[in-house]
C-alpha cells in the first residue's frame, strides 16, 4: 500500500470553510489544520461538542465565533457525554416528529488531555453505550492550552513544563498511552489514526467514520510548534516524519480488522523525527535507541495484526 496522492480526491473536497479563518491558533498549528479538514469532510450537517482546550479557546471568544456549524462547548472532561445527549436528543426528537428526519452527524472533539486523561471515563461510557457519534481526539501530546504540561499522551523523553529535564530526570518518564487501542478494546465499529500531513487520508477516514452506524473514534496526531519547540513551517514535515519513522503509524480498525493506511518497507530512523524538536533536545543516543526499539516493536505488532486481517480477507475469498 502506498500513500493516496489521487489528485481527483483533492478536488472532491469542498472549498467551503466551516471552521472559519481568523481564529487565534498559533503559527504552524497542525491541530487547527486537522480541525479545518475534519469540518470540511463533514460539511454542514453536523453538530459539534468541543472539549475545553486549545481549539475551544482559539475559536470562541464571546461574542465572536469561528464556527459556521452548530458548535457547543460545555466543559473539559464530559464531551463524550454531551455528545451522547445531543445524539439522543436528535434521535428521540426525530422519532417523535418534532424535527424533520435527516442525517446529522454528532461530532465530539477533544485534545489528548480531554480524551486520554480527564475525559476517558465519559468517552468509555459513551463508546460502551453505543451512541451513533464520532469522537475525534486531536493529540498534540501535552496540555498546550494551559502551558505545555505533560499528559498521559506525552511521549517518553519529551520535556514539558511538568516533565522537565532536571539533574536526575530527563523529561517524560512514562510511555505514551495507546488511546486508539483503548478505543478499539470497546469493540466499536471503527477506529482510525490520522494526521493532517496526510490530508486525503484524514478526510476519507472522517467521512467513513461519519457514515458508520454506531460509535467511531479517530485519533489525530497534531503537531504543536509551541509545545514541541519546533519551527512552525516544519509542522507538515514533522507529521510526515512521525508516520515515516513509525512513531505514529496510520491505520484503521474497521469492525475489528486492522489495516495499515500507509506501510513503509523501511522505517526512517527515529532520530530524524526527534532532532527537529526542542522538547527532545536533551535525548542521548542511548535514549533515542531505546525509543526506536520500542517503536519498532510496536510497529511490528501492528503490522502483524494488519497482515492477519489481510489473511482473513483472502481466506474468505
Amino acid at each position: 500500500m502506498t500513500e493516496n496522492l489521487n489528485v481527483f480526491a483533492v478536488r472532491t473536497l469542498t472549498q467551503k470553510e466551516y471552521f472559519a479563518p481568523g481564529h487565534r491558533s498559533c503559527q504552524g498549528c497542525a491541530e487547527a489544520l486537522a480541525v479545518r479538514l475534519v469540518a470540511k469532510a463533514l460539511g454542514r450537517n453536523v453538530i459539534i461538542a468541543n472539549a475545553t482546550g486549545c481549539m475551544e479557546i482559539v475559536s470562541s471568544p464571546l461574542p465572536y465565533t469561528s464556527w459556521r456549524v452548530p458548535w457547543f462547548h460545555v466543559a473539559f472532561e464530559n464531551t463524550a457525554a454531551v455528545a451522547s445527549g445531543i445524539e439522543s436528543a436528535l434521535k428521540v426528537l426525530m422519532r417523535k416528529g418534532r424535527i424533520p428526519r435527516r442525517k446529522i452527524v454528532t461530532l465530539a472533539m477533544g485534545g489528548d488531555g480531554g480524551t486520554a486523561d480527564i475525559g476517558l471515563q465519559a468517552l468509555s461510557g459513551a463508546l460502551e453505550r453505543g451512541h451513533n457519534f464520532l469522537y475525534i481526539c486531536t493529540d498534540n501530546e501535552a496540555y498546550m492550552n494551559t502551558g505545555i504540561q505533560r499528559s498521559s499522551s506525552t511521549p517518553f523523553g519529551a520535556s514539558t513544563t511538568t516533565s522537565p529535564v532536571g539533574r536526575v530526570q530527563m523529561g517524560q518518564i512514562t510511555w505514551k498511552k495507546n488511546m486508539p487501542a483503548i478505543a478499539a478494546a470497546h469493540n466499536i465499529p471503527y477506529v482510525a489514526t490520522a494526521c493532517p500531513s496526510y490530508p486525503i487520508d484524514l478526510v476519507q477516514k472522517v467521512k467513513k467514520a461519519a457514515d458508520i452506524e454506531g460509535p467511531a473514534y479517530i485519533h489525530i496526531l497534531s503537531v504543536c510548534p509551541t509545545g514541541w519547540r519546533s519551527v512552525p513551517e516544519l509542522s507538515i514535515k514533522l507529521g510526515r516524519l512521525a508516520v515515516e519513522t513509525g512513531v505514529f503509524p496510520l491505520y484503521e480498525v474497521d469492525h475489528g480488522k486492522y489495516r495499515l493506511s500507509i506501510d513503509f518497507p523501511q522505517l526512517k530512523p527515529v532520530k530524524e523525527y526527534v532532532k527537529l524538536q526542542g522538547r527532545f533536545r536533551h535525548l542521548t543516543d542511548d535514549m533515542i535507541e531505546q525509543i526506536e526499539k520500542r517503536i519498532r516493536k510496536e510497529y511490528g505488532e501492528l503490522k502483524e495484526k494488519a497482515s492477519k486481517g489481510a489473511r482473513d480477507d483472502s481466506n474468505r475469498d
Binding site: P61, V69, P70, F72, H73, V82, G85, I86, K96, A122
Partner: protein, 390 residues
C-alpha cells in the same frame, strides 16, 4: 378532582416525569434516588414513555447528557443525591449559565464524611449558588405537582433556567403517601412540548458555550442574575395557573397560624409537616407560635419572607445543613432578609436532623422553649446543633 392513589413518593415522581413526556433521561444510581430511576426504566421498557433512557457511567455524565440534550431541544431529566450531586456540581453551574431548561430531582442526602446515606440538606447546599431555580417540597403530592410546574417554568421563554426539586431522602422518597394524579389531557394542556428559542441544529448554526474575557464576563453574569431574579413573577404565575387547574395553590413562603404569633418556626422541606403538629400542640397550650415554610430557595423570596415574619418577636430557624464555621444556611439568608429593617425579630438558629436523625414534634417544642428562654436572657442571635449527646 383527579384519581387519588397510595404510592411511594419516588414512584409518584417517576410517574410525573412520564406524564411530562420527557425526551431524554440520564442518571446514575445513588441511594436514595434509585427508586425514581428504577421506575422510569420500567416505564420506558414497557413502552409507556417514548424517551431515550441512559444509565451513564457517572453523575457528571448524567447531567452532561441532559445539557447536550437540552441544547438540542429535548426535555431532559435527571435525579441524584449527595456525592452524586457533588460530582455533577461543576456542570450545574454551566447548565444555568447556558440558560438550558431541564429538571433535576434531588433526593436530599448527607454529604460525606462520615459517609451516611440518610437525609439532610448538605448536598443541595453545596450547590446553593449554582443559579438554578430551587424548590423544597414538603410531601409526595408536592413532588408530583412540581415536576409539571418546573418544566413549564423552566421552558418559559422569559425564564429559561434549569430547575431543582429538593425532596428529603427516605423521609419523603421512600414513604407511601396518597397522591392525586392529574389526568393526562390536563397535563398536556398545562405543559405543551418544549419549543426552544435556539437549538443545536445545522439549519440555524449557533455557537453555545463560548468563553468570556474579563471585558465581557461580568455583563453576561449580570444578565443571568437579572434573569433569575425576574423569574419570580413567572414562578408565582405558574403556581397560580397550576392552582387554577388542580385547586392546589403554592407560594414562595407558606405560613401556618402566623397571624398573631410572637414566635415563628422557620423550616424548609418535609419537616414542615412535623413542625405544624408541634405548632398545633403549642397553640392548644395557649402559646403564641406559628410556622413559616420556605418553598422557594432560589431566587430567594426576600420580600415574601419579610412579609411573613416581620411582625413576630422571634424566629426559630431550623437548618438541616451546616455551614461549618458559620451559622446554618437558611438562617443566614433569613438574617440577611431582615437586616435592613429597624424593627426586626431575633433569629435563633438550630441545626437539627442532620444525617436523617428524627426531628419529632416534641423536638420542635423543645427548640421553641429553648430559643424563647435564650432570647429572654439576652442571647438573641443564638446558634446551636440541637440534640447532640455531650
Amino acid at each position: 378532582m383527579g384519581k387519588r392513589v397510595g404510592m411511594e413518593v419516588s414512584i409518584a415522581a417517576a410517574e410525573a416525569v412520564k406524564q411530562a413526556n420527557v425526551d431524554v433521561i440520564s442518571a446514575y444510581p445513588i441511594t436514595p434516588q434509585t427508586h425514581i430511576v428504577e421506575h422510569l426504566s420500567e416505564i420506558v421498557a414497557n413502552g409507556e414513555l417514548d424517551a431515550e433512557f441512559f444509565c451513564v457511567e457517572s453523575e457528571h455524565s448524567a447531567l452532561s447528557v441532559c445539557v447536550g440534550a437540552a441544547a438540542t431541544g429535548a426535555r431532559a431529566f435527571t435525579c441524584t443525591s449527595s456525592q452524586g450531586l457533588a460530582l455533577m456540581s461543576e456542570i450545574t453551574y454551566i447548565a444555568s449559565g447556558l440558560r438550558l431548561p431541564m429538571l433535576m430531582i434531588i433526593a436530599n442526602r448527607t454529604l460525606s464524611s462520615p459517609l451516611s446515606i440518610w437525609n439532610d440538606h448538605s448536598d443541595t447546599m453545596s450547590i446553593r449558588d449554582c443559579g438554578w431555580i430551587q424548590f423544597f417540597v414538603e410531601n409526595g403530592q408536592e413532588v408530583y405537582d412540581h415536576v409539571f410546574i418546573s418544566y413549564r417554568l423552566a421552558e418559559d421563554k422569559n425564564v429559561l433556567f434549569p430547575v431543582i426539586i429538593n425532596m428529603d431522602g427516605f423521609i419523603l422518597s421512600h414513604v407511601i403517601e396518597p397522591i392525586e394524579l392529574i389526568p393526562q389531557e390536563k397535563i398536556d394542556q398545562f405543559l405543551p412540548p418544549y419549543q426552544p428559542l435556539h437549538r443545536l441544529h445545522p439549519d440555524h448554526p449557533v455557537t453555545m458555550g463560548a468563553f468570556a474575557l474579563p471585558s465581557i464576563f461580568a455583563e453576561t453574569k449580570k444578565a443571568q442574575e437579572e434573569a433569575l431574579r425576574s423569574s419570580m413573577p413567572k414562578i408565582v404565575e405558574t403556581w397560580k395557573a397550576f392552582g387554577d387547574m388542580t385547586g392546589r395553590y403554592y407560594h414562595p413562603v407558606e405560613t401556618y397560624k402566623t397571624e398573631d404569633a410572637d414566635t415563628l418556626l422557620v423550616t424548609m422541606g418535609s419537616c414542615g409537616e412535623t413542625a405544624s403538629v408541634a405548632v398545633d400542640k403549642l397553640r392548644e397550650e395557649g402559646r403564641s407560635v406559628g410556622l413559616v415554610k420556605l418553598r422557594l430557595w432560589r431566587p430567594f423570596p426576600f420580600d415574601e419572607l419579610k412579609k411573613a415574619t416581620l411582625h413576630a418577636k422571634q424566629l426559630v430557624v431550623i437548618d438541616r445543613a451546616m455551614s461549618v464555621g458559620a451559622c446554618g444556611p437558611v438562617a443566614s439568608e433569613v438574617k440577611a432578609a431582615l437586616y435592613g429593617e429597624v424593627q426586626r425579630p431575633s433569629v435563633y438558629n438550630f441545626v437539627a436532623g442532620i444525617s436523617g436523625r428524627d426531628v419529632t414534634p416534641s423536638d420542635f417544642i423543645k427548640m421553641v422553649d429553648k430559643a424563647e428562654i435564650e432570647i429572654e436572657e439576652g442571647n438573641k442571635e443564638g446558634y446551636e446543633i440541637y440534640g447532640v449527646r455531650e
